[in-house]
Amino acid sequence: MPVGSVSPMDLDLTEDQEAIRDVFADFFSSETGPERARDAEPLGFDSRAWDRLMETGAPGMGVGGSRGGGATLADLTVVVEEAGAHIAALPLVDHMVATRLLATVGVCDDDVLAGTTIVGLAIRPAQDGTARTVPTGAVARRVVALDGDTLVLVEGDPGAHLENHGCLPLADRPLAGATVLAEGPDAVAAYRRTLDEWRTLTASTLVGITRTALDLGVGYVKERRQFGRPIGSFQAIQHLLADLPGLLDGARLLTAKAAWAGDRAVAGQAGVADIGDNEITDFAALACMALVSAGEAATTATDRSLHVHGGYGFSEEYDIQLYFRRARALSVVLDDPARECRRLADLLLAGPSTSSPSGAGSDRNSVPHGGPEPGGDADHLATGATR
């Protein structure tokens, strides 16, 4: 088919990204996986795999300049999709985005870059001097948090593990004695951007989980025989699974678009968010969309895949339950997806919701209200502060 004008549009990975994907697919395939994830439970940290991962340079690859790997956000999505697909029990996403944030404020030392010192991110604003349920709080020595409009870094022994559904290394982290990194609107803006990077990379992790959940389900229904036939020959089973490739590919495309928008924003290209024309290039809006979309894809795919396994899906012996629990945990650890959607609505629509607790000036996260402008995010902070 002849093609006239050459489009810059390119929905394939770059050659570099294909190489990154192949390297990390090999790495996570050999160093992580369901058996290792089981062994790492309940804490959810595979220290041997982390040691090996440090040899690849992955923990610091998202930091630019001469010190780090200089990877784009788009590159990082490729790495963490593989981590998700192999159910790696590693604090990689949180470390990557926290490290990028520390680098921007100039406190990213070599131990952090290498991963010898693990850094976590408090994804919910601090409340009463404590960052609650920090996703990697039980393994990270350092945690970056937003306390009011102050960006702080707390250092010390990891917190006490909170046993949980997805075997994430969740812990509360008191912020007493924390170092102030930055204050005011710039600090809040830097934190929000980091949180949007966390959303994007968590979405990519969920895409990896979705991919493997679908593979596990399809593999099982081709093998399992009932009534003298593979159960995968029954339309009732086929149609449960046939919705999933669209969810998977849609979530992956949306996550890739969010990363693309994030990298463009760094380069100074502002995005737009026009739902009337379905034209969305704003990073904050796309990051939120990607997380909701990938969370839905992963929870749906793991749920259906587990279901077609019958009773075996429910048993610890089968791998799908690992993916099922991880998918749910990563989908809600930031917030209820419905509340994420309302936060997204504040970015996309004029005027705040009547239920929004962001009474003017009444909350201590008193940052300029973004209203309908892309990137305005004040309601989210206010919402979090009331929890």
Partner: protein, 386 residues
Amino acid sequence: MDFSLSPGAVEFRAEVKAFIADHLTTEVVDQMHATGTFNDKAFNAALADAGLLAGAVPGYGDRDPIELYILFNELEKAGAPYDGLAVTMLVAGVVNAVGTDFHRSRVLGKLLTGRFNCCLGYSEPDHGSDVASITTKAVRDGDEWVITGQKMWTTMAHVSDWVILLTRTNPDVPRHKGLTMFLVPMDTPGIEVQPVPTMATERTNATFYDGVRVDDEWRLGEVDGGWAVMGVALAFERGVMGGTNPAVPLLRHVRDWAGGAASPDGGTMLQDPLLRERLARTAIANQVSQLLTLRAAWIAATGGLPGLEGSMAKLYATGRYQQAVGWFQEMAGAEGLLGFDADGAAADGWIDYDARHAPVTTIYGGTTEINRNNVAERHLGLPRDR
């Protein structure tokens, strides 16, 4: 990955948007909903005269195939009458791909003027999804064929100049091996068109063929090779030529209505937290639908036939559209039941319209069940069960 359009595509999109702003008048929109015929010959002709149809034929010419996606996506988002145009351009693509010089000289050029229409004669009263079982007969008589039978859902037949007609030419071989496709002029004696009104006001038709005689030169593809022609048509049809962003105008209409509609709980409906959540969820679905469609267009642009990817886009987009319509009609309450002409209708009657229209979107152009079968068998590699 790079999600930005080429400068040429950006320019083309701007031209299409400018055309829509100039030509999609209230009268055009009112006319399409009053007549139920989502085809406007003057609008189509103006599109052609503006040079915007050259890229609208799948697989034809040297234009960037992304333009095909852009044209139909912009028309769909704007709520323009494009159904007749999409079918016509689809037939133009099939004619270009499998037709003879005779077909190209007699038909293709005319279709590109925007002043002629085609319709699809596949389904029959007793054969819909199982289209390979159709029974409309074509019997050879010298240099002619004599066609007898009935077709169903022949939308646009009443404004069409040609129908592409799937017929049975050999009843003695496996069903999909005895089919032949014809391009039949609608003014041929023996063709009768009867209207079939629908609950969404859209008009479709039943068409009857009683000893219709056409010369062999109107045959499209090989004798008994009709199934291959169907394959080309279906690959062009699914996904790229509109039909995957119907919830964009819906979202716009509901958003605009909600800003001025009082909520029973106080304030406006746009302040209602559940409506805001659902508007946001619909905005997400619209983005995903756009990206799945763009991927299908991208595959076409890089030399592939995106049949499977088109199935995925249609499956996702139409399901989400129906879900969104259901949400918004419930949340608008009684006003969400009111039609275009009723005082106080929510979103000027668009919610009622979309709620009427939405059910057909998981049926026509390949049902959701058939698309799921395609994905299950051809993408997931599950055993065929029919």
